[in-house]
């Protein structure tokens, strides 16, 4: 019970912090002081107090976009285990629901973007659609590998099960998996090298350009949803990459928080050392990720 409460609490509170950490890391690499860690929280609060501008072109679909995006991500957050602690909701096949929840959110985000009738947002959603459907199989290969390793068909079962001994046995497969999933993590959250959240040239954006027209509370919701998505997918990734666990519940929570922050730092590092890819290259990288994951699957099920 307490674990569930902590779980929900973390899911509600922690996500923007990751963005803050990433920002800070990048600033440090660039030799700047950078914004405080809590900057994302300030932004969201400020946005919540602002008024809203609606495009006359838009309909209710436009308004529904952010809401559904947040709702789906929130539910997804309840399906994913944090650290050694199983998720509040867990049942056979929940991993499929997990995958499809994001699809729902994406559907509405894209629809909302296209509702504005802006060619730029259309561009963005077209890219989002293509890339995400290329990223889909990778996630499934990962799920296959994990459930084969753990023998469990629930996210909690398969993720919590990963530990050093498993690593020792199937390091090759898991390494490939980590590679693949990291690419997917970056792609799904529209980080460099796929997308640059804070560039200023709309032509090159994917996610940010889709939400150009959202303002005020709606935009706050989008910001928060994005952070939450990063958090949720990050949690998934952390299980693979940093499968530490101590027997102690509280320590595990701490470990989890630390590893999430580590992840944020890593992402920050990647973003500061890499440049954004040309859009033509993006599908190739995603397919590469799929191939990595597929190999790992074949390694475990042969």
């Amino acid at each position: 019970m307490t674990n569930s409460i902590i779980h929900i609490f973390l899911a509600l509170v922690m996500p923007p912090l990751l963005l803050g950490v990433i920002g800070k890391t990048k600033a440090l690499f660039a030799g700047r002081v950078g914004a405080p860690f809590l900057q994302p929280y300030y932004d969201i609060l400020r946005l919540l107090h602002k008024g809203t501008v609606f495009s006359t072109t838009t309909s209710w679909v436009f308004r529904a976009g952010p809401i559904v995006a947040l709702a789906t991500t929130a539910v997804a957050a309840l399906l994913i285990p944090f650290g050694a602690h199983p998720a509040p909701i867990s049942f056979t096949g929940d991993m499929i629901l997990y995958a499809y929840l994001f699809a729902l959110g994406r559907f509405f985000t894209m629809a909302a973007a296209l509702d504005t009738g802006s060619s730029f947002e259309g561009m963005g959603s077209a890219r989002e659609a293509t890339y995400s459907c290329l990223a889909e199989p990778t996630l499934f290969f990962a799920l296959i590998t994990l459930s084969r390793l753990s023998g469990s068909y629930t996210l909690s079962g398969m993720l919590v099960n990963i530990n050093f001994s498993v690593w020792m046995h199937t390091s090759a497969a898991l390494l490939l998996l980590v590679g693949g999933m990291f690419i997917v993590l970056l792609a799904e959250n529209c980080r460099i090298p796929f997308d640059d959240p804070n560039t200023h040239l709309e032509l090159t954006m994917i996610h940010e350009v889709m939400v150009l027209d959202h303002s005020g509370p709606a935009f706050a919701i989008i910001q928060y949803a994005a952070a939450l998505k990063l958090f949720v997918l990050g949690a998934f990734f952390v299980h693979l990459a940093l499968p530490y666990s101590t027997g102690n519940a509280l320590l595990d929570w701490g470990l989890f928080i630390i590893s999430m922050l580590e992840l944020a730092v890593v992402i920050g590092v990647v973003e500061s050392v890499m440049a954004r890819l040309r859009l033509i290259r993006v599908p190739q990288l995603l397919v590469a990720a799929t191939i990595l994951a597929a190999f790992s699957t074949l390694l475990v099920i042969r």
Binding site: T52, F54, A126, A129, T130, G151
Partner: protein, 665 residues
């Protein structure tokens, strides 16, 4: 309650009667001179019949018994049995629901007053098609089956020919007719060989035949070709897109929602004869299924014609269902009950689901075409403001067909996923799990296709004058759509009910797969799923409230869309459907190509020009048509034998005489 009603009337008789009523519904209209009454009459009759037929079918499913009648007929093909077992009853549900909804829809969509010349035939053949499908499900005599089958195919052809003054309609019609006829020929062989095995044209009982004889595999193969051609499984799908695109929309709904399923019914029925199907059969089904799913949806993504897109997505869904049947068959061959259960449950449930959201979408497309006068998505846009209700219902359909929670499409795909995963722990059929990523890809592409469809039709601003003045559909058109949307939602949120609907069918044929533990286990899982669905909905509500509350605080202002600094944005600059899908299609270049003709621009101020794109029909253009022209050429060469030279004709006779003489002695 059921038992009481069953005591009162035999549900099987009710279903049969309902089918006949639907078949005759169109006849009065043929003789009523005044346009209108006939149509209304037929609609009323059809709906009443459906109201009687659906509960009857439900009872028959749950009664888990088969009722047999023997039809007295004057044809020399043995007794003609009509049997309704749970399988038939299950397939009867969509027949009744869709036909009734469609005939109601027709009142607004194809009013007799506007279509005096075509309405009569349309109404008549519509009823004929529906009832022939219903009777097909009851037919247990091979010859009778083929007769009803062919009547179904022909009435579908005539429905398709409603607007035969249009060239593309005629072409679609001929392709369809040839395809279905070849399929029927395959069925000739299949049923004849069955008769050769059993000694009568009565369809064999479940599990009564062995699949290990060479004859059996021919039977199965021919049945697969014949029924697959109707269901539109690759590579027999060539007729499907143009046919479904060119028929009137409520007809497309019936064809796509129900007629395709008749092919699947046939395949299912044929498989039940054999108690020991070899693994190969299941493998073939699975591979063809998943291939259809993937290729079908890739085609769909590339389409620019609203209804073609829907038709191609039918190929995809049929593929998904076939995959389910395939893994179930693999389960039967390898005695893996859980696989049988999940495969069948997924397949059957998807059959049901597809016959809800596909008609919904086709009817919606009917409304769209009705108000915009075009099927070209690139010319539409912004219809959502004129017809918000239609937009909402269409959105429900789109989300459902993408297999996204919390709607019904997800439930069936969920079961299939579980099926794929179920062999992961076991050591045989482990590779089945590799289907999961493919299905995931299919899901992703489906989302591309349907975001493209929904947004380029309903969202943004109108791209042409045709779409400029949309008007909301009348109640007769909205009601059926709303009905289907509701069904999608219900099955999506309480999938356990749907599972209870399919389990009797599974029990009827594979009782070993239907152990109490299995059913309860997956019942609970689906229960959790519905909980998650409820949670999702409530989450949406919560966030909405929160947003509204904040929205109320700040001031709200309206302005034009932010053009990223460019202030002269026009409607034509929006991302059209083609533009939206081009990136995705380019990834699958070679399988599917959008042939885009770009104008060559010269000088600083190029003249006005235009760019066009055509999605290619790979199989039809690259294989079938060349084959036909080749045959034409060679035949033309052979036709020289009829050259009009008398003495050569005499020579023919002489030579024949000579040869026969030699043969005789």
């Amino acid at each position: 309650m059921q038992s009481a009603l069953q005591g009162a009337v035999d549900p099987a008789l009710v279903a049969l009667f309902a089918a006949l009523v639907i078949g005759c519904a169109g006849i009065p209209g043929l003789f009523i001179q005044k346009p209108g009454p006939g149509q209304i009459l037929s609609a009323a009759a059809t709906i009443l019949a459906a109201l009687a037929g659906v509960p009857a079918a439900l009872m028959l499913i749950f009664s888990r018994t088969a009722t047999t009648y023997v039809l007295q007929w004057g044809l020399p093909f043995g007794p003609c049995e009509l049997v309704i077992d749970p399988l038939s009853a299950f397939f009867l549900l969509p027949v009744f629901l869709v036909s009734a909804a469609g005939s109601l829809f027709a009142l607004g969509y194809w009013p007799a007053a506007e279509h005096r010349t075509t309405e009569r035939g349309l109404t008549f053949f519509y009823g004929l098609l529906a009832s022939s499908m219903a009777i097909l499900l009851m037919a247990r005599n091979g010859v009778f089956f083929i007769m009803v089958w062919e009547i179904m195919a022909l009435s579908a052809y005539f429905l398709l020919m409603t607007e035969h003054e249009r060239e593309d309609v005629r072409r679609a019609g001929i392709v369809y007719l040839i395809a279905t006829h070849i399929g029927t020929a395959a069925l000739f062989v299949s049923f004849s060989l069955l008769a050769a095995q059993t000694g009568s044209f009565l369809l064999p009982a479940a599990g009564s035949l062995s699949a290990l004889t060479p004859l059996a595999s021919v039977v199965a193969l021919m049945a697969f070709i014949g029924f697959g051609a109707k269901a539109g499984i690759m590579p027999f799908h060539i007729w499907l897109p143009s046919a479904h695109a060119n028929a009137p929309s409520h007809v497309s709904a019936l064809m796509s929602g129900v007629m395709l399923k008749m092919g699947l019914y046939g395949i299912f029925r044929t498989l039940t004869y054999f108690h020991d199907p070899p693994l190969l059969w299941g493998a073939v089904l699975t591979v063809c299924g998943i291939a259809s799913a993937l290729l079908g949806i890739i085609f769909a993504v590339a389409q620019r014609d609203l209804k073609r897109l829907l038709a191609c997505s039918s190929i995809e869904n049929i593929g998904i269902i076939t995959t389910g049947l395939g893994i179930a068959l693999l389960g039967v061959s390898s005695h893996t009950t859980v696989l049988v259960y999940l495969g069948l449950a997924g397949a059957l449930l998807h059959i049901l689901n597809h016959s809800f959201f596909k008609p919904l979408l086709f009817l919606g497309s009917g409304v769209i075409i009705h108000s915009s006068g075009t099927r070209e998505m690139n010319l539409m846009g912004g219809l959502g403001k004129g017809m918000p209700r239609v937009a909402l219902l269409f959105l429900v359909g789109s989300v459902a067909i993408c297999g996204i929670p919390p709607l019904n499409g997800f439930v069936s795909e969920f079961l299939l996923y579980l099926g794929f995963f179920s062999q992961l722990k076991a050591n045989n059929l482990t590779y089945l799990v590799l289907l999961a990523p493919v299905l995931a890809l299919v899901g992703g592409l489906a989302m591309v296709a349907f975001t493209k469809l929904f947004s380029s039709v309903f969202l943004g601003t109108p791209r042409s004058s045709a779409a400029a003045h949309p008007h909301e559909a009348g109640v007769t058109m909205l009601l059926p759509m709303a009905f289907f949307a509701l069904l999608c939602l219900v099955i999506g949120v309480v999938p356990q009910l749907a599972l209870r609907l399919v389990s009797p069918v599974i029990t009827a044929f594979y009782p070993q797969a239907m152990s109490a533990t299995v059913s309860t286990e997956y019942g609970t899982i689906l229960g959790r799923l519905s909980l998650a669905g409820v949670l999702l909905v409530s989450a949406v509500v919560v966030v909405t409230l929160l947003w509204r509350w904040r929205l109320g605080k700040g001031l709200i202002s309206f302005t034009s869309t932010w053009g990223c600094g460019y202030q002269r944005g026009t409607a034509r600059m929006q991302y059209g459907g083609t533009a939206f899908s081009e990136l995705a299609v380019s990834v699958f270049d070679g399988i599917m190509r959008q042939r885009i003709k770009r104008p060559a621009l010269h000088g600083l101020f190029p003249k006005r020009s235009h760019c066009s794109d055509v999605p290619t029909e790979t199989l039809l253009d690259k294989v079938i048509s060349p084959l036909f022209s080749l045959a034409g050429v060679s035949f033309a060469f052979l036709r020289r034998l009829q050259h009009g030279q008398m003495h050569m004709y005499m020579m023919y006779i002489f030579v024949t005489l000579f040869i026969l003489m030699l043969w005789a002695h």
